[in-house]
Amino acid sequence: MPGTYIPSDYLPVLITFLLAAAIGMGALVVGILLRPRRPYAQKLTPYESGNPPVGEPRYRFSVKFYIVAMLFVVFDVEAVFLYPWAVAYDKLGIFGFVEMMLFIFILLIGYVYVWKKGAFEWE
């Protein structure tokens, strides 16, 4: 029966919150307290497979990487909707098919838009 498995006493709620806050804050505080802080030059250099560091550690990626990554993420994740459809394809029938074609069509419009806007061109 839904609703019965959570004790309706106030205490667990309180505990949940205190626990949550304690863990959130605690992790930070414990880290600061426990970790030894003895910095010296070598220790602060970034690890590059044992080789002496070459150039600045904070290498600036071209912003184009972000754009491509962003587009990838969006189109990639939209694909998750294809999985449940594929699984339930038998049951959904023609309605599901039309619906999914519409979905893909709308994605396609997005794709055309992005393409025409020149987001895929590296230059």
């Binding site: 498995y5 863990i23 972000y66 754009i67 993420v73 994740v77 998750v80």
Partner: protein
């Protein structure tokens, strides 16, 4: 079997870490990841409830949350990039042109 309450507590803990991260982190990307943490904590609890209740609604919502989170990530990154082009910082405590 792991009882439901464990998932719920895990979810609450992760959510709280996200909340605390939101206002303790200085880097915009880290703040953004805190938000993602919050969203995923919700996903944990939704899936757990869905399994417990034997109802698919929770999982449907999870799908949507994932998809929306992706769109959100894209837009968020785009906004951060647009910001970074005009302002040489992504440290959150230096972003206070608008105030009062």
């Amino acid at each position: 079997m792991v009882p439901l309450s464990w998932y719920i507590i895990l979810s609450a803990v992760v959510f709280s870490i996200g909340v605390v991260g939101f206002f303790t982190r200085r880097n915009l990307i880290m703040i953004f990841m805190s938000i993602e943490l919050m969203l995923n904590s919700v996903n944990i609890s939704l899936v757990a409830y869905s399994h417990y209740l034997q109802s698919m609604r929770g999982q449907v919502l999870v799908f949507f949350v994932i998809a929306v989170a992706a769109a959100e990530a894209a837009i968020g990154l785009a906004i951060i990039i647009a910001y970074y082009r005009n302002n040489p910082t992504i440290k959150v405590d230096e972003i206070n042109l608008l105030k009062g």
